[in-house]
Subunit: 348 residues, 2 copies
Amino acid sequence: MLLPDRARVPFVSVENMARLVHSIGLPLALEELAACIEADFLRWDEFDKTPRLASHSVDGVIELMPISDRRHYAFKYVNGHPVNQRRGLQTVVAFGVLSDVASGYPLLMAEMTLLTALRTAAMSAVATRALARKDARVLALIGNGAQAEFQAIALQTICGIERVRLYDIDPAATRKAAGNLRAAGLSVTECRTAHDAIEGADIVTTCTADKKYATILSDNMIGAGIHVNAIGGDCPGKTELHRDILLRSDVFVEFPEQTRIEGEIQQMPEDFPVTELWRVLSGRRPGRVSDQQITLFDGVGFAIEDFSALRYVYDRMQGTDFFDRLDLLADPDDPRDLYGMWRRFGTG
Amino acid sequence: MLLPDRARVPFVSVENMARLVHSIGLPLALEELAACIEADFLRWDEFDKTPRLASHSVDGVIELMPISDRRHYAFKYVNGHPVNQRRGLQTVVAFGVLSDVASGYPLLMAEMTLLTALRTAAMSAVATRALARKDARVLALIGNGAQAEFQAIALQTICGIERVRLYDIDPAATRKAAGNLRAAGLSVTECRTAHDAIEGADIVTTCTADKKYATILSDNMIGAGIHVNAIGGDCPGKTELHRDILLRSDVFVEFPEQTRIEGEIQQMPEDFPVTELWRVLSGRRPGRVSDQQITLFDGVGFAIEDFSALRYVYDRMQGTDFFDRLDLLADPDDPRDLYGMWRRFGTG
């Protein structure tokens, strides 16, 4: 659907995104977002999928992630600059655009730093619902940075998690997450080591931020029946798990072409067997087949999730005042008289 | 240079772009823009050049055009939907972003429908100044749509054109352009055929809009000594010149990898000889070598030109009020407490 004044593009700012999610309620927003992502994953073949377009520099990367189906086109701009933290800047900032394929007109421009945290959490929950044991109640959350609370609350809302065991190399981060998650109604244990954190956990989610090969989880830490969401290893050279864990797990991925470059499985040979999550969601491939199995979602964040998130925001903002309108597109009365349009701005 | 409040991204709307150009004056803006483009073309090898990323659909195309040097990154979003005209929409709308490579933060978001018309005109003038006879005074302008006036005024300002001969298949377009260009101080002749328009012309610029193989100029129309700017053939399947003209001309292009797909030379074999314009501008290759030679600039619009234009606007807007600030990037006080930032928006 195109809004009436198509040259003035709806814009959802950071403040409006936050207020929109408050107005819906975070749990419901995460649930609805998970439903959107799952629905879009179920029509996987309808998407025109391309790898992200990355521009690397000494200090980081700037990426464009475009994707489209026959009706909508979306892209996200996102950077990754670990050095920014030392400068008082965000490591990652993002914004995105949703467009109408038929006309090429943008329908929505939105902040996507907050929205990406939401969709990443919703994605983990979609994977966890499909892959974890149904009786899973205890989550170990390794890495307690910007993503942590959203991950925990999505698993609380969508997968019935009741208890969270937190660990971060920085105790201040753990303290911050603990405070936020207790307020959200979770039973929280602050742990001093990763080993301690995974004690009794049914689900382990790693979302650390270091841009390097790291071993956040070593092989002996992951026991039978556990589901792992490995979220933090999301670019070349950045992994979190010891490769032996991968060898003992059944590994599920979003888009193998991208995950083999960016995910945990970049440590493995190119023919390392993985299952595309959409095939599990659509019933074409089995997910968890026994309570002893280790399932591992190697999540790197795929463009369809951003597409789903932008479409969700676009639908949900209709009838609200949680957006402004940007005078982004020139709209001369006579399309051939752009010059005349320009001239008239000089006489006002 | 980063502005103080880096999370609030400067935004130049259509109205502010128009007002900024009025405040500078169109001739000076075109001259300065041409100087920026020429300066960037002279440091060609410093750019990380990639072909545009196109998403084709039944009715049109949506493209992302990214480019960067070591300091700045830019991309343009642009569509092409010829069917839009029938719907009262623009055929082409565009916007762009300039970013700081070191931090990945956007520095500027800007409308680029008007700005693209300006940079395309400035580009033609850069090519014409390098390739046309120095005594050229008469321009034939075939295609009198949205680009036409900007093309003519850039050649008037930068190349000393005094007289313009206009032709369009739609006489209303010619009438519109004639009125605008007379007001700009040019001597204008409205012509009824393309043949008539090129009579006595030193420079021929074609900027028609049809998305198809067309023969706007046939071989016998282009005589010795003429310089041609072929601007309108800018996508696969869209050309304006009979191929025999190409065989008699020396052809100059922006980025051969792109022009061989999108430009007039898509009609020619892959090894058809062309000269990169930046090599002429930098004195490495000859441009015009005789008054009898036909020179042809096969312009398709390359990402460096958008990069130059965005950098120009960014520099020129400093100290003015011709921009707003968009609350585009989440900026929590503690970068790891995105959730806390979100929560605080609920208490306001």
